[in-house]
Symmetry: C2
Subunit: 518 residues, 2 copies
């Protein structure tokens, strides 16, 4: 209720989307990082004209409904990211903005959108959110806008209990962000509008808009209190809130006619934007056929012809670490798959994930990002345009590639939308005794193997490492983890051996829905 005004201004005036074609590639992205406020998102989707009915909304938090307690792309058309674990949506939005910029440089006129996220106090307390914000500032992601719902209330009480000293606006300025504040986010729709306009006009830095709001705005006794955070208002308070907001307390699940009208207009504008985009794609097929074909290949989830022909082969006399074999395979793949790119933790010389000669993502080298970028300990190939935009794992990376559990929660989130992210984890286990026990993650392999839908491959030698990469690149329905040695191991197999079998990659069942339905 407190975030509704800012959400309404954004959705009714700025967000370009096409509810009848939720997956239209060049739509703006909206991420509700504060996923516990999912009802706000479901309400917006319903009003905007997505396939979320009032009956779906009546089924809130019910088994197999389109409206689970926290948003899921596979469950609900128009939901862009799995959110709920705080900070994850904000991190995802940074990944989406990185992808947008890289694709915009590669496909000018065909990729040109913005990424908006609604973030909460709880998001901004999260370390992962600070890492993501630091990276966004570092890269100067001018298409990224965070609306910060500053209601100063947590589930346990006023945020002053735990979060009153920190100056979030000043922190983001220190991270290189453009920062604005709206003092009365409950009523000042013009102020919200002006701030979003200012954020959109800022093209060199990511934008944070601090919007001061009242949680449960309109509820006569619970507004501004923790009681409005995690529990229903109750019938009496809900009726009183409706009355206070000028609505009929006796009418349920109803939308004022004026709202319906404005939403229908907005849907029409979205349809027009989508049609114009398909018109540009059609023209590109004639005027820039290579570019159009390349974009369509990526949208169609395909790999380039001959993508795996440069992969290395190793003879029985060879002896090398599987991290080294992986590095050779990655460089061969990068030369043939332009969308092969990823994030790193300043450790590529140790993890052997540097892509030599391909350049790094930075403020100055945007075009480089279109081919292959960033030395990486985690790395993904966009299987479809949505993949890079939702992969977003770069800012969620562990700084240390030797401790996979640091990013296991992100890995866990990845499996829900079924994104084909590839994780490269090196310095496996007891082979790194000199580094001391903190660097011997003996239990992590088994921890990863019990994660549903994550394929875990621990190749025995260099040729199996190449096959593991082939498996990871072919996979479309979920993430793959490669677990690699630091120390040299002998080559035991011949090249181009049997493919990785599904029995070899996981010991748990795959009962997660296979990616988004829409």
């Amino acid at each position: 209720m407190g975030a509704a005004p800012m959400a309404w201004v954004l959705w009714s005036r700025y967000l370009t989307m096409c509810p009848t074609d939720p997956g239209w590639p060049d739509r703006d992205r909206f991420v509700l990082s504060a996923g516990h406020g999912s009802m706000l998102l479901y309400g917006l989707l319903h009003l905007a004209g997505y396939s979320v009915s009032l009956d779906d909304i009546r089924s809130f938090r019910q088994w197999e409904s389109r409206t689970p307690g926290h948003p899921e792309p596979f469950a609900t058309p128009g939901v862009e990211a799995t959110t709920g674990p705080l900070g994850q949506g904000a991190g995802n939005s940074v990944g989406m903005a990185i992808a947008e910029r890289a694709l915009r440089a590669r496909f000018p006129g065909l990729v040109d959108h913005r990424v908006f996220a609604l973030v909460s106090d709880g998001d901004l307390m999260e370390g992962v959110c600070c890492e993501a914000a630091s990276l966004a500032g570092q890269l100067g992601l001018g298409r990224l806008v965070w609306l910060y719902d500053q209601n100063d209330v947590t589930l346990d009480g006023p945020a002053s209990l735990s979060f009153s000293v920190e100056d979030v606006a000043a922190r983001h300025r220190a991270l290189g962000w453009h920062v604005q504040t709206v003092a009365d986010g409950n009523h000042d729709l013009d102020g919200i509008d002006a701030a979003i306009a200012g954020a959109v006009a800022e093209t060199e830095r990511p934008s944070l808009i601090v919007v001061k709001t009242t949680i449960g705005y309109g509820a006569p006794t619970k507004a501004g209190k923790a009681a409005a955070h995690g529990a229903p208002l109750g019938a009496e308070e809900a009726a009183a809130a409706k009355a206070a907001l000028g609505l009929d307390p006796e009418t349920f699940f109803a939308v004022p006619a004026g709202v319906r009208e404005r939403c229908a207009e907005r849907a029409g504008e979205g349809e027009a934007a989508r049609s114009a985009w398909y018109g540009r794609l059609e023209r590109a097929r004639t005027e820039a056929p290579e570019q159009a074909a390349e974009l369509e290949r990526r949208l169609g989830n395909g790999l380039p012809e001959g993508w795996d022909e440069g992969l290395p082969a190793f003879g029985p006399g060879d002896r090398l670490a599987t991290r080294d074999a992986s590095g050779k395979a990655m460089n061969a793949l990068a030369a043939r798959i332009p969308e092969f790119f990823g994030g790193d933790a300043d450790l590529s010389c140790s993890t052997k994930t540097a892509l030599v000669g391909f350049g790094s993502q930075s403020q100055a080298t945007r075009a480089a990002a279109t081919s292959t970028t960033e030395s990486a300990s985690t790395r993904w190939r966009p299987r479809q345009t949505e993949s890079p935009t939702t992969a977003g794992s770069a800012p969620s990376l562990p700084r240390s590639s030797v401790l996979p559990t640091t990013c296991a929660p992100r890995c866990g989130s990845r499996r829900f939308p079924g994104l084909p992210v590839v994780y490269v984890w090196t310095h496996d286990s007891v082979g790194v005794g000199e580094d001391g026990p903190t660097h011997q993650p003996v239990e992590h392999l088994m921890s990863l193997r019990v994660m549903p839908n994550l394929h875990v491959v621990r190749p025995a030698d260099a040729n199996e490492t190449v096959e593991a990469w082939r498996h990871a690149l072919r996979r479309t329905e979920g993430p793959t983890a490669l677990v690699l040695t630091r120390q040299k191991v002998p080559v035991l197999t011949t090249p181009n051996g049997p493919p990785v079998s599904s029995a070899a990659v996981t010991c748990s069942g795959n009962r997660i829905p296979p990616g988004r339905r829409w």
Copy 2:
């Protein structure tokens, strides 16, 4: 080599320690958060007179040596925290400072020390470090001082590749810290001294000292370069560096006489400080016997008499969630164990970890912290004075208590020093379907069970939950995780049933050294 000047000023002029009694309770703490620079710490320990010989230093990174690649309290006298995974040591230092303040308020005259940490660029890039710094600012931890070795170099190259936009000093000011900068950390020992004096004089806010240094200072061709980060200099460069620093290139493992002299003086000062403290304790035995006895009980690792007599009992007719039973057990324990306290994620009303009537840690309520503090989803009982000071997991907490993997790496670090931290993880598994799949951590239980030395207890009902708490509180040699339901479950057992068996708590062997040796 770049951090040596600041470390020398700190150790030779400020750090109060007693090398012949490394565990003396009221020593200052020094945490090398940048644990990959372990040789600096081993050198300091040797010079200061700890039981780290030149032979130990010659055994650097060798099997079972006292000088593993990353520092470990169980391996080396004087090492306060397991570090290496970046950000963890910084987080630990915040926990130590919280404990110092709480204990100082409870035991005036007997607890009165400072916590220093040396942090690197890589530490400060970590989200966990930002969370810890935010909490330190929130609580106004005036005894905490971070020396930031800003050498602008990562393993992969200049930090400008990834970390050039962010203004770390401004960020920490935004978090409520006192910030100073030393422009020439290679030579300006007086400037370092003045900054540390300023930090010590600041009692209301934690202090960050940004010390600009040159990595590999003194090495003629590798100084200031990534080549000096993760690999030995090599014989030729090492000889040239010695020559450049005015040392004899042909002399190995030698310490100048003047250094030895100053270190011996410093050790004498530490002995005197330790003796004075034991004198105060002896006086307290006469003048404040209750207080002295209480401190000695805690130092001796004991529980108060009758600590578990107030624990609740449930009859077969009862039906309640194990999170609720846990909450009742925790409040009963808190009433009898004053050192029972912990950290929380603003979710205590959901995890049922609120300790009703005991107050929260804050800038204004320091004394409250001495009894029992903070509603908590993770919670520890200090089994010895070192435990709260090294537990330090408060700032490392996940913000969401329902996703244990978010804090699994911290949990992993806890097992090395063998700290008896208790983790409370609620909303177990498939019982929370309405919240959506992100909130159904079906694989986490097994992931936790494979972690060596972590006891994982998943009680079936309320009485087993009480026994689980009894087990966790009795345990001294490592952490315990309690996995609890959100939904109501029937009581199946009678109260005071058999204790938790070790076979029930883990499926992996315990082959981790049992806590620190010194």
